[in-house]
């Protein structure tokens, strides 16, 4: 018996791969659904901060991600746009990552159309420019010099949504949906800290722990971490809304749970095998 368990401890990693694949495919194919409890915390803080903005405020959303992190960040983009637009807050958006432009557009135009919001009046997408932090610092003194036109080449000066927005200081909040560098940290360093603008955001679950310190120093007002953060936000936006649109994040959470269980099961098996081997070797001495 001991040898069987010990063999388990040296399992070929391909067995683990197969089980992981099944753990994700089966719940998705069967469309399992588990309820999400909303926690107090960084997700709620971001929601509340946006809820407290007066109508007509201007918020900058920076789409700092690409398709590889879409599963986590795109639902956030959608949920945030829904929240901002229903509260009649104007959205100025841009991307520090090249692929963020079209992803951002997808979210903004879909939500905008469903809520009857117009491009150039209620929202605009300025597009992408390389430069990360450098770019932000330039925008601190003059946005129009960095983005004379939006992503489609339309002059920004004439857009109603940009009236009164000349530099970063004219914005009420910056939200960065960030998959790495440049991303939230860049915005905190180059905009939040320098020009004293509230910075909030969403990130992949992986970078969330790294951003926690900024939450406690107040450099970040709130944070959506990974699919769970997106799920939280989706759930909060849906409260009090009749016939809410389907949530993208909620669907994946079931598969998430099962896969977590599988990994934890592996860790337990690994440890039982390890301990039993140690015990046997210890006994043989």
């Amino acid at each position: 018996m001991a040898t069987f368990i010990e063999k388990l401890g040296n399992l070929d990693r391909r067995v683990i791969f197969v089980l992981m694949a099944l753990a994700v495919i089966i719940p998705l194919a069967l469309r399992m659904n588990l309820p999400i409890p909303i926690d107090k915390g960084p997700s709620k803080n971001l929601f509340d901060a946006i809820d407290a903005l007066p109508e007509g405020s201007r918020v900058l959303i920076s789409f700092d991600y690409d398709p590889s992190t879409m599963p986590e960040l795109q639902p956030m983009a959608v949920a945030l746009s829904q929240h901002l637009m229903t509260r009649d807050i104007r959205i100025v958006s841009l991307a520090l990552w090249p692929m963020g432009v079209s992803l951002g557009n997808e979210a903004l135009s879909a939500v905008g159309d469903s809520l009857g919001k117009e491009e150039y009046v209620d929202w605009v997408n300025l597009g992408y420019k390389i430069g990360g932090g450098v770019l932000i610092v330039r925008m601190g003194s003059d946005i129009q010099s960095v983005f004379p036109t939006d992503y489609g080449g339309n002059p920004v000066d004439e857009m109603p949504v940009m009236q009164g927005v000349n530099k970063l200081g004219d914005l009420d909040m910056i939200i960065s949906l960030s998959a790495g560098d440049p991303g939230i940290e860049t915005w905190i360093m180059m905009a939040g800290d320098r020009y004293n603008i509230a910075v909030g955001g969403g990130c992949t679950a992986v970078s969330a722990p790294q951003l926690y310190p900024y939450l406690s120093t107040g450099q970040l007002i709130g944070l959506l971490g990974g699919l769970k953060g997106a799920g939280d936000y989706e759930t909060m936006v849906r409260i009090g809304v009749e016939n809410p649109p389907p949530g993208i994040a909620i669907a994946g959470m079931a598969a998430q749970s099962v896969a977590h269980l599988v990994i934890m099961l592996f860790i337990i098996i690994g440890n039982i095998a390890y301990l039993s081997e140690k015990k046997r070797k210890g006994g043989a001495k």
Binding site: L34, S68, A205, P209, Y212, P213, Q256, M264, F266, G270
Partner: protein, 205 residues
């Protein structure tokens, strides 16, 4: 001697960037410098492109191992360059289509391989071989449970404990790493700006 001018450029550029942070009057100068920097570092990509072509042409010519795959790289490279230059990069044109339908899914797939690797790494590395390893194991385990709804179904305190670990021990650790690494980075940067570290320029004289 051949390093004098490069070292001076490094010094001046570094000092301008430091000054523009503390002296508002020098901000326009810093802005310009940063734009130059952006241009020069983007232009460097042609070096890489030239290397990529050389390496693969070389492989094909000398029939190096796996040379049969090199034409694929070259064709892929050429197709992107040509579609980009001919049609432009706006949405719904060939360049964008190729990116969206081929490059992006491949990037997403490579990224998602991590789910498998995280599982195999956790299985192999998280063993209670000593008490410190056990702590690592326990904190990973609790946080993992706290992140999914199932955790709170097992015991409703688990998300709270997981959040506590993130807020206190984890934050302390992250902060120590950040402060320490910042000192390392500042010292390295200073050594470069003041010409004490110059090996990046190649040549020790």
């Amino acid at each position: 001697m051949r390093l004098v001018i490069p070292l001076m450029i490094t010094f001046v550029a570094g000092m301008i960037m430091i000054l523009q942070f503390f002296v508002p009057a020098t901000q326009p100068m810093g802005d310009n410098l940063q734009e130059w920097y952006m241009i020069v570092s983007s232009a460097a990509i042609f070096l890489g492109a030239a290397n990529l072509i050389t390496v693969h042409v070389h492989k094909i010519r000398f029939k190096a191992r796996n040379w049969k795959y090199s034409p694929i790289t070259l064709i892929g490279f050429a197709v992107m360059i040509i579609t980009g230059l001919v049609f432009g990069i706006e949405a719904d044109l060939p360049f964008d289509y190729l990116f969206q339908q081929m490059v992006a899914p491949m990037a997403a797939t490579m990224f998602s391989l991590l789910a498998f690797f995280v599982a195999s790494a956790a299985f192999r590395a998280f063993r209670a071989s000593n008490w410190r390893a056990s702590l690592l194991l326990v904190s990973a385990f609790v946080v993992m449970l706290g992140r999914v709804p199932i955790g709170s179904m097992i015991w409703n305190k688990i998300p709270i404990i997981s959040e506590w670990i993130m807020q206190y021990p984890n934050m302390a650790g992250q902060r120590a790493v950040m402060i320490g690494a910042a000192m390392g980075m500042i010292a390295t940067s200073l050594r470069m700006i003041f010409g004490i570290e110059r090996s990046y320029l190649g040549g020790a004289d």
